[in-house]
């Protein structure tokens, strides 16, 4: 039987910007191999970002897959002079946010039944993960975009279609909350 839950480190294969542009162009022209290479280069990071927003193993897999499907669907319209990753990450994080919001709404509707939240509770022993999970999904999303995917607040604002000030305030509130619950080795 397959292992139910496995944890692995996810160092994505790195692509130079030039190589990535070539792959995008080849994929637009019909190369399955190019698409497979783009997928291999970006899936793990996309999946990690999705998981850190939704904190649900199955949902993270669905979000990552849906994001790539959406990317495939829009591939012909993609401007290949632009980098591929931000385009994909924008889809990933927005879909993860949609899922997290739906899940939060569903939990509120179901709250009378006091169902436990269907979150994965991996034996991570990681206070940061627990603290991140306690944040509202909107704050999780900006933390992930800023500190995992390393976008600037301006870029995040464009990705989430938010005012830059809103991004900054969400980031500040998120890190304030994390400070209250997490201590990190300096």
């Amino acid at each position: 039987m397959a292992t139910e839950q496995t944890v692995f480190e996810d160092a994505p294969p790195s692509l130079s910007a030039r190589r990535e542009r070539r792959l995008v162009r080849a994929a637009q022209e019909g190369s399955t191999e190019a698409l497979a290479e783009l997928y291999a280069a970006h899936w793990r990071r996309a999946h990690r970002a999705a998981y850190l927003v939704v904190h649900d193993r199955a949902a993270a897999e669905d979000v990552a897959q849906d994001a790539f499907l959406a990317a495939v669907d829009a591939l012909d319209r993609f401007d290949r002079r632009r980098p591929f990753a931000p385009w994909l990450h924008r889809i990933v994080v927005n879909r993860a946010l949609d899922w997290a919001r739906r899940e939060a709404l569903r939990r509120r509707v179901d709250s009378e039944e006091a169902e436990p939240i269907a979150l994965d509770q991996p034996d991570l022993g990681d206070e940061l993960m627990a603290a991140l999970r306690d944040l509202p999904p909107e704050q999780r999303a900006v933390v992930v975009l800023r500190h995992l995917l390393e976008y600037t607040p301006g870029e995040i604002a464009a990705m989430l279609e938010l005012p830059r000030g809103t991004v900054n305030s969400r980031l500040r509130r998120a890190l304030d909350s994390l400070r209250e619950t997490v201590e990190v080795d300096r």
């Binding site: 039987m1 397959a2 292992t3 139910e4 839950q5 496995t6 944890v7 692995f8 480190e9 996810d10 994929a27 022209e29 019909g30 190369s31 399955t32 191999e33 698409l35 497979a36 997928y39 291999a40 899936w43 793990r44 999946h47 998981y51 850190l52 193993r57 993270a60 897999e61 990552a64 897959q65 790539f68 499907l69 495939v72 669907d73 012909d76 994965d120 991996p122 991570l124 990681d126 940061l128 993960m129 933390v143 800023r146 500190h147 995992l148 390393e150 607040p153 991004v167 900054n168 980031l171 500040r172 890190l175 304030d176 994390l178 400070r179 997490v182 201590e183 990190v184 080795d185 300096r186």
Partner: protein, 418 residues
């Protein structure tokens, strides 16, 4: 020493947080990445407007699945798979497809069930629709086709000329012509009936049988094997109307095929495949049904189709299942003497329909995802794939239901095509 998180929204100074987010273990099934890749590549293959080569998506998917299989086989989760796969030879990648339906490799004629009924495919690939029938099967020399439509059974020449037609008490299914050409057995409603090859003397054999096709003895005797409604395998001498053998068979049996010059009976269910030795007790004195011997199937895989080679020495099986979460299909050839099985093909998605060439040198299997028939050699000859199969049986060129091969004619008239 512990410290509070620093915060600087304009810079990258939250190194601890960034490292923690990068390195925090994320729970994920090991096959999730490949599972997603298969879905994404399939979607890409369907939408792709500019196809460079029809073989590319198949190759990429095959490579991806091969990599996934390799990963799984190296993992503890794949141990049971590895144990089984070690027993077989690796399957070759599917042959590159040729556009359109062309000459049938090795010759012979095909009887095909498409969305609008049975079709005949000539050796050169030309084809025509047989008529308004639901299903059909070849006579032993391919001179006629037994065709069923609703509650009627007909004998039809391959050019569509109907020679006779009779009504039966119930929907007619699974007509099977005896090797001598003198009798046709068929299911009608819940029962089993038999009629002479000229359409005369129709009569019931059993009022209640299991929903699978009966099978005639290839020895030329009028002996018919079928499974009754209680799940008992029965062999009857149809001319003498006498039971000549019975045995317990598989629960949920779906395939029954008598072959190997009468010496073996193939019995298959979604969970099990077995071969039963059969021994004749002299001239018309019945048969002895031996103890069946099952083939070992990989854990978690279900039988989608199974077919006995004309010689009776091999059994081809389509197995489907999931390794991890990846749906895949395999074409395995088992040896009747239980030597190591051979995996001819392993592909993502579903394989559908299985037919042996009359001489046993090739297998035809459908691959609906790519709208292809694969003609795979069981020996050393190169395989061949023919694409655009659905369109070939769809008037007007619209892609229709993926066609199912009912029979590859004719064992009685062709030599081995290896």
């Amino acid at each position: 020493m512990k410290a509070k998180l620093p915060f600087n929204p304009h810079g990258g100074s939250n190194g601890n947080l960034e490292r923690a987010l990068r390195e925090a273990p994320v729970p994920v099934e090991p096959e999730a990445e490949w599972r997603g890749l298969e879905v994404v590549l399939a979607a890409y293959a369907e939408r792709r407007p500019r196809r460079r080569s029809t073989s590319l998506p198949r190759l990429a998917i095959a490579c991806a699945v091969a990599a996934l299989l390799a990963a799984l086989l190296l993992s503890p989760a794949g141990a049971s798979v590895r144990d089984w796969v070690d027993d077989v030879f690796s399957g070759a990648p599917p042959p590159p497809p040729r556009p359109g339906l062309t000459a049938i490799p090795g010759g012979g004629r095909l009887l095909v069930r498409a969305g609008d009924g049975p079709w005949i495919v000539a050796p050169d690939g030309s084809r025509h629709r047989l008529g308004d029938y639901d299903e059909a099967s070849w006579s032993p020399h391919g001179l006629f086709v037994a065709a069923a439509a609703a509650n009627e059974l007909s004998a039809v020449a391959p050019d569509g000329d109907e020679h006779w037609r009779l009504s039966a008490p119930g929907t007619v299914r699974d007509p099977r012509w005896s090797p001598s050409g003198e009798l046709i057995a068929f299911r009608a409603g819940a029962g089993l009936r038999v009629v002479a090859g000229d359409g005369s003397e129709a009569r019931p054999l059993d009022d209640s049988v299991a929903p699978l096709a009966p099978s005639w003895s290839p020895r030329g005797q009028p002996e018919l094997a079928y499974v009754d409604a209680r799940g008992t395998l029965r062999v009857v001498d149809v001319e003498r109307d006498r039971a000549v053998g019975r045995a317990t068979t598989l629960a949920g049996i779906r395939w029954l095929e008598w072959g190997g010059r009468g010496g073996v009976l193939l019995e298959g269910s979604p969970r099990r495949i077995q071969l039963r030795p059969i021994t004749a007790r002299g001239d018309r004195n019945g048969v002895a049904l031996g103890r069946p011997r099952a083939f070992h199937l990989p854990a978690g895989e279900k039988v989608a189709d199974v077919a006995l080679a004309p010689s009776g020495g091999k059994v081809a099986a389509l197995l489907g299942g999931r390794i991890g979460g990846v749906r895949r299909s395999e074409l395995i050839v088992f040896d009747a003497r239980h030597r190591a099985p051979v995996r001819l093909l392993s592909v993502p998605g579903r394989l559908a329909g299985l037919a042996w060439a009359p001489g046993g040198g090739r297998l035809l299997v459908g691959w609906p995802r790519f709208d292809e028939w694969l003609f795979l050699p069981t020996g050393v000859a190169a395989g061949q794939a023919q694409a655009g199969v659905s369109e070939a049986f769809a008037p007007g060129g619209e892609r229709g239901v993926f066609p199912h091969v009912e029979g590859w004619c004719c064992r009685a008239t062709l030599h081995d095509d290896r």
